[in-house]
């Protein structure tokens, strides 16, 4: 180690936590967010012990109104809507999380490379990103999912294809600004290699907005997965995926509980994630804390 101390990834992570006071991390909306998100994570992991019925078996008369036996009633095939809704978390949450992690990884790497090396590399990567972003997300995802065929895996691929450019663009902007800073110039001066400078000294410094964005996007991606399933391009029957359940509910107008239960589930989870994301932005955003 040389005498020159440069910010490292670990140091940067500590910085993240230091930036907000405890109160900034524990505002009421965020606490609500933590509780609701924790509930859904627990539900997703332990649903086989929590759910009263098998989500794909006919367990009662069809279209029963909500009652003690069936909290959210039954659907058109006599399946318990409450159990199906709980099981739905098993599909929506992991898929959205994987989609975000993969999109962040691909987008960040490509954005960082584009921003650091510039020139034709930058031009090629960012024009591809621009082209992808020129389409409305839902339309492009529909087109990709439709061409790959229905299924949750294909929906996941479609979402990654739609979502990575957001992070590429964000990361590129960060890299362009941090590249000019003195510590980077120092690293160049002592002969550090390009990739080392990029991934050890620039990228870690750029992660805050990506992290905030990814948290906010998680809710959007849950909705996008549900939208694709709603349109028949995501989950295949009899998978109790929320979007697909809403499609079933839409066919049974006069039994509103069928669509309301998964709708309410999505509402709570997206609201929780948005609260957490907002809180994170406030706690971490440099510009906000300087005010």
């Amino acid at each position: 180690m040389t005498a020159i101390s440069l910010p490292s990834l670990a140091g940067n992570a500590r910085d993240l936590w230091r930036r907000g006071s405890a109160s900034a991390w524990l505002r009421p909306p965020m606490i609500f967010g933590y509780v609701v998100l924790a509930f859904w994570i627990v539900a997703a992991i332990g649903v086989q012990w929590i759910a009263p019925y098998d989500p794909i078996k006919q367990v009662g008369e069809r279209l029963l109104t909500p009652s003690g036996a069936h909290w959210f009633g039954t659907d058109a095939l006599g399946r318990d809507v409450f159990s199906r809704t709980l099981y739905g978390a098993r599909y929506s949450l992991p898929i959205a999380a994987v989609a975000i992690v993969v999109s962040v990884t691909i987008g960040s790497v490509l954005g960082a490379v584009a921003g650091y090396f510039g020139g034709w590399v930058d031009a090629v990567i960012m024009r591809i990103a621009d082209m992808t972003m020129a389409f409305p997300a839902i339309l492009l995802a529909m087109a990709v999912a439709a061409s790959l065929g229905p299924g949750l895996n294909n929906a996941l691929i479609a979402i990654v294809i739609v979502w990575w450019p957001i992070y590429a663009r964000l990361m590129r902007g960060q890299v362009l600004s941090i590249k000019q800073r003195e510590h980077v110039e120092s690293a160049v001066a002592i002969g550090a290699s390009g990739p080392r400078i990029l991934f050890r000294h620039i990228v870690p410094q750029s992660l805050t907005p990506i992290l905030v964005n990814a948290t906010m996007d998680l809710g959007q991606v849950i909705l996008l997965v549900a939208s694709l399933s709603f349109l028949g391009l995501g989950a295949l029957p009899p998978t109790p995926e929320w979007g697909a359940m809403i499609t079933d509910g839409a066919k049974n107008f006069y039994q509103p509980w069928i669509a309301a239960a998964p709708g309410f589930a999505m509402l709570t989870i997206v609201l929780a994630i948005n609260f957490i994301g907002d809180g994170l932005r406030d706690a971490l955003d440099v510009k906000a804390t300087r005010r």
Binding site: I56, Q58, A76, L77, P150, L231, P237, N252, Y254
Partner: protein, 542 residues
């Protein structure tokens, strides 16, 4: 309709779904007051329409049957009282020769087209030849026709190479309406042998009609409405209504709501679930009537991935593993029947075939005998549509559960209707689910479509591991039946029904009843196997 894959272009499913969402929002805001907003001389009908053309020789869909019947009279018609009896239409007399190869029609001297010109033998000859030569989806109805003679000013003689005792019933089909040949020819229509390429009248038919039916076409807006006005020169009893509008209303719930509000007078696709909402309505009348429509699953060993189905015991096991009664109860709230063979209840030949029964023990034993004691995994691609009140998606999920109980894992892939047609036209799918509604009142159509005969339907292409399959007994049986009449023919169709049931390639699942819901003062709302609903017969209580 032979499941209509030949011509139907269903709207992209996603658009339907989005429309459903929009409707959800819109209807949520409306106030449900039961009033009769529509003046009764203008009839409005709510219907999810499958129209893509209004050319009577190109169309082939359920809505086509209704519209063509209203616009184009046929030579003979099916009696509203008894679907097995034919009555005079444009032809006041109709006879067949002894061996059913020649059919003679004497035109009614009073018959006129909507432009007041008389219906002449040349129009009949031209119309039938155009239907045959345009090589559209309904052209199969005239297969085997060799020539049409017009010996005098009122007589038409249709000749066939082989006996065709079904022909008089076929002539009553809505696709065999007679077109004013002079008018249509002026606008590019052709009946010549090269009509499939030379005819350019399809666009003209989208905004005009040239028939002798009770109504004439006023306007057509795709995915919105078909408007008809009364034919001022109609040669029989003039229709009660001045105008009839078929309005596109895609889902059952919206149809129900519009009917309750009085925005429409007839709702054609109310689901049995919605029926409860109308039970005590003073302004709306409902009836559940027997239909000849049914949903079925097809088992196709010759399709990609279908090998386990090659053993007939496996197909029998699947047949016995399905809880039909539960499906009827669950999918159509009990408003339906079971059916034993591809020839539906009520059609000649259906009488003696045993209904399917649910027997899990027997199914497991059959699977073990066939070498699949632990079952197997098999895929199913099917169109995600609601056919006559039966949601095929739910039907397949119910069957999926049933098959799971005997160890068979059924992987479901619901697709858009046009995608499904591509699959069926390509490598096939081991198991599919579709529906069938008759084109006319003769049982021959079921053997022609579901029998394992040359030039049969899609099932014959995948009926064994070898792919294309012919059951010679069915080929011979059909030839025999088409040369017979009366009790002999009935016996022949009974044998054919049993032969097709024994193939175990087609498993009828539900024969749903049709839910008729209409304003209480409308009369004549009945279901006809050839033509769906006859708009010309609709009236008002006095």
């Amino acid at each position: 309709m032979h499941t209509k894959q030949r011509s139907t272009r269903f709207k992209w499913r996603s658009l339907v779904a989005m429309a459903a969402t929009a409707t959800l929002l819109l209807t949520g805001c409306s106030v449900g007051a039961a009033t009769t907003a529509v003046a009764k001389h203008d009839l409005v009908i709510a219907r999810a329409m499958d129209l893509t053309t209004l050319d009577p020789d190109r169309g082939y869909c359920d809505t086509c049957q209704i519209v063509f019947t209203a616009l184009y009279d046929r030579l003979v018609i099916v009696s509203p009282e008894d679907s097995k009896t034919l009555q005079p239409g444009l032809a006041s007399t109709f006879t067949a020769n002894a061996d059913n190869t020649q059919f003679t029609f004497g035109l009614d001297p009073a018959a006129t087209f909507s432009d007041a010109s008389p219906v002449e033998p040349k129009d009949v000859k031209w119309s039938l030849e155009r239907l045959a030569n345009i090589k559209g989806s309904a052209s199969y109805l005239l297969a085997g026709m060799t020539s049409i003679d017009t010996p005098d000013a009122k007589t038409v003689v249709v000749n066939f190479a082989a006996p065709n005792s079904a022909f008089l019933a076929i002539v009553a089909a809505s696709y065999l309406g007679i077109v004013n040949s002079d008018v249509a020819s002026e606008h590019g229509a052709s009946a010549a042998a090269d009509a499939s390429t030379a005819d350019t009248a399809e666009d003209w038919f989208l905004s005009n009609s040239a028939g002798s039916g009770p109504y004439i076409l006023d306007s057509y807006t795709a995915n919105s409405a078909v408007k008809l006005t009364a034919n001022p020169n109609y040669w029989r009893t003039k229709p009660t209504f001045d105008t009839v509008t078929l309005k596109e209303v895609t889902d059952s719930s919206s149809q129900l709501q519009q009917l309750q509000q009085g925005d429409v007078d007839i709702a054609m696709q109310i689901s049995p679930d919605a029926l409860d909402q109308l039970k005590n309505s003073p302004t709306v009348t409902t009836a559940a009537v027997d239909s000849f429509n049914y949903t079925y699953i097809a088992l196709m060993p010759g399709a990609e991935g279908g090998a386990p189905l090659a053993d007939v015991r496996v197909r029998e096991a699947i047949r016995d593993a399905i809880d039909y009664d539960n499906i009827v109860k669950t999918l159509v709230a009990g408003y339906g029947k079971l059916q034993g063979s591809p020839i539906p209840n009520g059609f000649e030949g259906s009488e003696k075939v045993a209904l399917p029964s649910y027997d899990v023990t027997k199914a497991k034993a059959l699977l073990a005998e066939a070498g699949y004691p632990d079952g197997f995994t098999i895929s199913s691609t099917y169109p995600k549509i609601v056919a006559y009140g039966v949601d095929l998606d739910l039907q397949m999920q119910a069957i999926q559960q049933n098959l799971a109980s005997v160890g068979i894992t059924l992987e479901l892939t619901p697709v858009d209707f046009s995608q499904w047609a591509d699959v069926i036209g390509g490598k096939g799918t081991p198991i599919t689910a579709v529906y069938f509604a008759p084109d006319h009142t003769d049982s021959s159509q079921y053997v022609q479509y579901f029998g394992l005969i040359p030039n049969g339907g899609y099932v014959a292409n995948f009926a064994s591991l070898a792919g294309k399959t012919v059951n010679q007994a069915e080929v011979d049986g059909l030839t025999t039946a088409l040369a017979q009449t009366g009790a002999e023919r009935t016996a022949s169709y009974q044998s054919l029904a049993q032969l097709m049931a024994d193939d175990v390639n087609i498993l009828p699942i539900v024969n749903p009843q049709l839910i008729m819901a209409h304003a209480s003062d409308i009369t004549g709302v009945t279901y006809s196997p050839c033509c769906n609903v006859d708009l010309g017969a609709l009236g008002l209580t006095k």
